[in-house]
């Protein structure tokens, strides 16, 4: 294996390829469990910042991985990262299509109670403020910041998840940080 480029990204891509192959060819649920371990957290975060309640995020996260299993056992998937985020985005769009019609009121009340619970500790307030400012950013800025600093994804991974170029992601990150900084100073 000495002739392989010694980057961990390459090895992890290789590992994902193997797991994807196991799921596709052998319906290997253990392999799918490993895939879940790799991607569940970042998908959960992505959804948590897109959806009004954590319960919604939980529900959609399990829905993403159920659909993922269905797709992966019937067809080969090349880029798992992009694959799961695409499912997640589609589910979010579906969610709001239904939500706008029925649950506008309950969202507003839930959001209020969510804030009031965390008013206890001073440090917590600070961090909550930061997260709230993050929520106040526009979608594309929030997405990259969450992926880069909360999910700790590499720029290349974010690019593949959002189906953009790495350079585009770097520019976006730069602007998003600037925007967040201005928001927190206010």
């Amino acid at each position: 294996m000495l002739w392989l480029p010694p980057t961990t990204t390459y090895m992890s891509t290789l590992r994902e390829k193997f797991l994807s192959y196991r799921v596709h060819r052998h319906q290997d649920s253990v392999a799918y469990g490993e895939i879940y371990d790799l991607f569940a957290d970042r998908i959960r975060r992505f959804l948590a910042f897109k959806l009004p309640r954590n319960e919604d995020a939980d529900e959609l996260t399990s829905e993403v991985f159920l659909r993922g299993w269905e797709y992966m056992t019937s067809g080969a998937v090349n880029n798992l990262n992009a694959f799961f985020f695409r499912i997640a985005r589609n589910l979010v769009a579906d969610f709001y299509r239904k939500y706008k019609a029925t649950e506008e009121l309950s969202y507003a009340s839930e959001k209020d109670t969510g804030q009031s619970v965390s008013d206890e500790v001073a440090t917590k307030i600070e961090s909550d403020e930061l997260i709230e400012s993050l929520r106040g950013l526009k979608d594309e800025y929030r997405e990259v910041l969450v992926m880069r600093y909360l999910s700790e994804m590499e720029v290349g991974e974010i690019a593949s998840a959002l189906e953009k170029t790495s350079n585009g992601i770097r520019v976006l990150l730069h602007r998003a940080k600037k925007a967040l900084q201005e928001k927190t100073k206010l």
Binding site: R22, L66, Q181
Partner: protein, 378 residues
Amino acid sequence: MTNIAAQLRAVKNQPKAGGFSVAEHTAAKRSLMLAIGADISQPSAAPAVNLKTRYILWLSHSFVSRPIAIGVAGVVLAVSGLMTTVNAAQQSIPGDALYTVKLINERAQLQLASLDRKAVLHTEFAERRLNEVSQLQSDTSGRDTGLVAQTINAYTQEVASANQNLHELQASGDSTTVATANAVQQNLVALDSAMTNTVGPAASAEESVAVSSAQSTTQVAQDDSVNVAVQAHQDVASEQSTRELNDMFLRQFAAIGTRKTFDIHRLSVIRSLLSDRADVLSALSIITASDLLRLERSVNIAVADVAPSISAVALGNYRSAFDALKHAESLLRGIESVIADAEIAITAALMNAPDAAPIIEPLVVSQPVDPPFAPPVQ
């Protein structure tokens, strides 16, 4: 800026930051596994080890066995493609696109061959050149007319190379020299008669020069192969070299006998034509009955000289035996050229005769025409 990044990193484990806690993650995973129908009652360690082994197997399959299989398949395809091309090239003649491949293939064979095999190979390639010449001559697709002379020269070159290899082999004192010389000589005899029978009449001065050069080179090479064999046997005599020389001698001896019978037959055909068509032929005085008798006697004398050579062989005196054969052969060659001249003249006369009857059997000119024959003085 870095401050913002650090602050964000610091809050990543807050419940509001959207991440799973370990307990949440495990619970969610468990329900997912149930939902996709996995058997989660199994101890988790066993399948994990299993998956690791499978990963290593998969890696070795992806990066070792598959590339090797693909590589091998590629090599097989390339080689079989090459073999097909080389095989197709065997049928090509000068001027064809694949002819170069044929020549390269021959050079490659020569490069790989040992010296004794090289000499024989050169005579085999010479035979190919002769076949190409006859194909070129019957070819009507309007090829370069210079190709015939070029191919004849290539033939001459092959024969000369065979001869040179044979001398090199003798100089190296190789034990296979006599056997090789025998094989080469046999091929050269075949080439000599093939040249007469398959190569058509020269179409240009260039071609006739090439043909006469090819004939003399073949003749010289034949003589040389005999000399090499005899010399090598004299240097180091062995059971095998004796057997090879005997074989060589018997073959040539038998060939002389066959030629004698054939020549006598030709003379008797001429004699019967002279008497049957005396009306046309007697006035022309191409050849007289007494000339025919004289020629017949010369043939018998030439061959009679060969008889004692058998006893020379028995005594191991190959040099004089082959010299006798060579002498008889050159005498026969001279006689045959006179017979051939007479045959051609008679054929022409009969065809021009007012009541020209169709010639029933064409008169075969089996030997190349040599300088005029001087009958031996009795």
